[in-house]
């Protein structure tokens, strides 16, 4: 389809001024086409070809309509930060930004200082409306970010290692000292998940309703939160790890290990899908871009690496430590060491990340967790003295979709969405490295015929090996030079034989044989074998 649109544009006499605009629109259309169209030219079936062509046409139309809607109907524009003159974006202070932006924006910049209850971790709902925070020493809270309302705050008087929202703000799970617990938004303990053990990190797979956890012993658990069934329980076999991250593109869970490897898991197989050595030394942080092609890893070897997950290749290596990392919806990467936050950005669109913004919180605060707030230009920071929030222009998606994640959701809408998301709950089998494979046809594997030169080279190698082979020293004249020579000759012949046979089979048959085969074909099929026998005699 893409081809066809390109042709259309070529045919149309486009004025030079409008050319830029149409090109931009074309690019947007490509975004909505979701990949290239199938090649219909190779199809033999005319009826099928017609049907598919019609469908491709429809896809093209809908992509065009979506691109047009994006151009004209989107209510808001994204944020930006542009430096003028000699100033640099990474030198601009948060206070300066706060002075420039409107009141609503500047409200998102604050520090909450809670010095007693230890490093804080935090999590946002997919719509970015609610935040849950948990202090290491047992302090947990849910905050409505729209009006900065503290919905509930309570103390469990136990170590809390991680906290994560379930499918909506009504429930959240916390990894505590011995077990994992599920609480509702009033702070009522609903479940104690003993099977997870002392979990270090939690992740929730939104579409599958699976709670994934990694515990002290390096065991990965998947539990279905709708039925309570334990879907998967795997030993990673690579030791204790507290780096766990789910890839939002395909719901594959990645675990970073102390040996520098990263393993990727799905709940239906006990062996990892991918095991890749990323760092020399322990992996400290892991983050996935929402388009699923980009992964960022950081290790104790003072390196931050960006990986292309389609080829499993390093795209870029940056120096630096980081304890936590996060990608924003628009692809900004936040890293943190100590009390220093750095935000990287891909300016050129060629996945080449460079410095965009930086921010230091008060000295001595140790940053524990970074999380971009979805649909807002805000970065939440959980640290040893509470939590803070800073403005990062251009990080959030400016336009939300009411049917995907709505920050202004009413309780009735929330209830409806819960029902719909439960109806669309995906089975765990749909987690795979390439989720677009579902419904496609497995291509037939073609056996490659080796080239003639390759065969010859192989033959030579085999002959050489046979010649060089040594023989056992034997008595009673069996190791006489003549005998040895004979043996060698035999060995060479043996090595050559399969190649020669192969050649004979492949080569054209002699005239006589061809004639015989023709004769055979004249006979009914059941009698053909007798014709062959006669030939043998």
């Amino acid at each position: 389809m893409g081809k066809k649109i390109a042709n259309d544009i070529e045919i149309k006499p486009v004025p030079a001024i409008e050319k830029g605009i149409s090109e931009e629109e074309d690019m947007n259309v490509m975004k909505y086409l979701r990949g290239e169209a199938a090649n219909l030219e190779v199809l033999q079936d005319k009826k099928l070809k017609g049907q598919l062509a019609l469908r491709e046409d429809l896809y093209g139309k809908s992509a065009k309509a979506a691109a047009k809607a994006e151009k004209w109907l989107m209510p808001s524009e994204g944020g930006y930060l542009e430096a003028e003159g000699i100033e640099r974006t990474w030198n601009i202070k948060q206070e300066t930004i706060a002075r420039e932006v409107d009141l609503l924006g500047s409200r998102n910049q604050y520090d909450i200082i809670l010095p007693d209850l230890g490093p804080y971790t935090l999590d946002f709902t997919p719509s970015g409306r609610y935040m849950t925070v948990a202090g290491r020493k047992g302090h947990m809270a849910i905050v409505d970010m729209k009006n900065m309302n503290l919905i509930k705050e309570f103390q469990v008087r136990e170590t809390v290692r991680d906290v994560v929202f379930l499918h909506n703000e009504m429930f959240f799970a916390a990894a505590q000292k011995k077990y994992t617990y599920i609480y509702d938004r009033n702070g009522t303990e609903l479940h104690c998940l003993k099977e997870h053990g002392a979990a270090l990190k939690l992740q929730f797979l939104n579409k599958h309703f699976l709670l994934a956890s990694i515990n002290k012993f390096g065991q990965l658990h998947y539990q279905d939160v709708t039925t309570g069934e334990m879907v998967g329980n795997f030993r990673t076999g690579l030791g204790r790890s507290n780096v766990l991250q789910v890839n939002p593109f395909n719901s594959v869970v990645a675990v970073g290990h102390s040996g520098g490897t990263i393993s990727m898991w799905k709940p239906t197989s006990s062996a990892p899908l991918v095991k890749m050595l990323c760092h020399h030394g322990p992996v400290t942080a892991l983050a996935f871009h929402s388009n699923g092609h980009l992964m960022a890893t950081a290790g104790m070897d003072r390196k931050i690496k960006l990986w292309d997950l389609r080829k499993f290749e390093v795209l870029q290596t940056l120096p630096g430590h980081t304890k936590t990392m996060n990608f924003s919806q628009k692809g900004l990467l936040a890293t943190a060491t100590g009390s220093f936050v750095q935000i990287l950005r891909d300016f050129s669109g060629s996945q080449n990340y460079s410095r965009y913004m930086s921010h230091s919180i008060a000295k001595g605060y140790q940053i524990q967790k970074l999380a971009f707030r979805p649909y807002e230009d805000v970065l939440g920071i959980g640290h040893s003295m509470g939590w803070s929030s800073i403005l990062v222009p251009g990080s959030g998606e400016p336009n939300f979709d009411s049917w995907v994640a709505n920050p202004f959701e009413t309780s009735k809408q929330r209830k409806e969405r819960e029902v719909h998301s439960l109806l669309d709950k995906l089975p765990p089998e749909t987690i795979m490295l390439n989720p677009t494979k579902i419904g496609s046809v497995k291509p037939t594997i073609k056996k490659e015929k080796p080239a003639k030169q390759e065969i010859e080279a192989e033959l030579e190698g085999a002959v050489e090996a046979a010649k060089k082979g040594s023989f056992k020293k034997k008595t009673k004249g069996r190791s006489k030079p003549s005998k040895v020579a004979k043996k060698k000759k035999e060995a060479v012949y043996k090595a050559k034989k399969p190649f020669l046979e192969q050649e004979a089979k492949g080569e054209g048959l002699s005239k006589k044989k061809r004639k015989n085969i023709e004769e055979e074909n004249q006979l009914p099929r059941s009698l053909q074998r007798f014709a062959r026998k006669r030939q043998a005699n």
Partner: protein
């Protein structure tokens, strides 16, 4: 320095008054919707399952006849009326909405074999084994709506006595003529007591007759000598004829492609023919396990319904080799006649157990008025199901039909037999000179000869 951050004021994104609709914003960015295909697949699977849950095609039975229902006729000018004739000579007019008899005609001495309604919907023509053709006045619609007229008996407009028993009757789609099938094919006019024309080709009895919906002067008949004949009223002699290996019980023309017709055959199959090219069938519709007794096309021309001696009603695509749907109940006996309703959404079957049965044409369709959102949802689910219909799980659920044990067994036996036949043919071919046993398609194999 230029800076802007996203700031959404609540007023802009929520409704002003509580009576207003909630505001909806769309962003079609694929990055916001991950795993779209998996979600669509799950929706398709759920839609297929829901279809199975809601598949309740049987609406109701209409009882009243005291003998097997032998024939039915739709009224082209009245949607909810249907006529039925039974083996004891009784003719009734039914109201499909209330499923009651509206009018009862005194009928024939013997069995009623054919019923048809004139183009304007005013005159009902019936014929039977008592060698008479009777014309009846169809009561006007005001009577149909009144409730207390179930025993409203009417006198025939005319009774034409003829020499032989009749097997079928059909009225022209556009015109005043009707044709009867018996010892020969007779063409009648409403006002004449004797046929205006008769055709004969061979000595055998014609058992069904149907006029072409596009060309009013062309009609197709099938006879007990296993032939299908096409007549043209403008010619003195019949036009074309094919002889098949087994008898054809009934014929139906495709109303949207009037050159095509489908023949319901005694050998459990239906054969779709192009009337211009009778040397091979366009499609063979298999699935019944006993003789197909009657066939009727949907007004859309995309599907047709068949009733069979194996006590089932099946719905086929006009170009599909196997049935889309099979309907059966424990109480339904041999089906002698079937009709598609004039709005293509219901199927009526008349069977040996003296009842007419009303079925939905789409088993899981929601009846009644649909809200636009409901309709959109149904359309979406249909599209998703169509997209993933080839995946094994979806296919299994969509294809599955529960069959009575007798039919299930008969179907598997037939499958074994046809497989054995195919194998035998293959072996025979392997043991004879190449080319001496040509392969012949089933579409051609069942035709013995074509006569012009």
């Amino acid at each position: 320095m230029k800076v802007k951050v996203i700031s959404r004021s609540t007023d802009e994104f929520t409704r002003e008054r509580s009576q207003d609709l909630q505001r909806v914003f769309r962003n079609f960015d694929p990055n916001l919707r991950s795993q779209e295909k998996a979600v669509e697949y799950v929706r398709a699977l759920n839609a297929a399952k829901l279809d199975k849950i809601f598949a309740r095609p049987f609406i109701g039975a209409m009882d009243g006849h005291i003998d097997a229902v032998s024939c039915m006729a739709k009224n082209p000018s009245h949607l909810k009326g249907i006529f039925s004739g039974s083996m004891d000579g009784d003719i009734r007019l039914w109201d499909l909405a209330s499923r009651r008899t509206v009018c009862q005609f005194p009928g024939h001495q013997g069995a009623v074999r054919g019923l048809t309604v004139s183009t304007d919907g005013r005159v009902l023509v019936s014929c039977g084994t008592d060698s008479t053709v009777r014309l009846w006045n169809v009561p006007v619609s005001s009577i149909m709506e009144s409730d207390d007229s179930s025993n409203n008996s009417a006198k025939p407009l005319a009774v034409y006595v003829w020499k032989n028993a009749f097997w079928a009757v059909d009225h022209q789609w556009d015109g005043d003529l009707f044709a009867t099938a018996g010892a020969q094919v007779d063409i009648w006019d409403h006002n004449r007591s004797q046929p205006v024309n008769s055709f004969e080709w061979g000595k055998d009895t014609a058992i069904s007759v149907r006029f072409n919906p596009g060309e009013p002067n062309i009609l197709a008949t099938s006879a007990s000598d296993r032939s299908i004949t096409i007549f043209d009223l403008r010619l003195a002699s019949p036009a074309r004829k094919i002889i098949m290996r087994t008898k054809t019980n009934s014929i139906a023309w495709n109303p949207m492609e009037p050159m095509n017709f489908t023949a319901a055959n005694e050998d459990c199959n239906c054969y779709s023919y192009d009337s211009r090219k009778l040397d091979e069938a366009r499609c063979v519709h298999k699935d019944h396990v006993s003789a197909v007794m009657d066939i009727d096309y949907s007004p859309t021309g995309r599907e047709f319904v068949t009733g069979s001696y194996d006590r089932t009603v099946r719905i086929f695509q006009y170009n599909g080799g196997h049935s889309r749907e099979v309907y059966h109940t424990k109480r339904m006996q041999r089906v002698f006649c079937v009709k598609f309703s004039c709005d293509a959404s219901y199927v009526i079957s008349g069977s040996d157990d003296t009842n007419l049965r009303l079925w939905k044409a789409k088993a899981s369709e929601q009846l009644g008025v649909l809200l636009p959102r409901e309709r959109k949802k149904h359309e979406y689910l249909e599209a998703v199901k169509n997209r993933y219909k080839h995946l094994p799980e979806v296919k299994r659920i969509v294809r599955h039909r529960h069959l009575p044990r007798a039919i299930y067994k008969a179907a598997s036996l037939r499958r074994i037999m046809s497989e054995a036949e195919r194998k035998k043919e293959e072996r025979r071919r392997a043991h004879s000179a190449p080319g001496s046993i040509p392969k012949e398609a089933l579409r051609k194999r069942r035709i013995i000869e074509e006569v012009e």
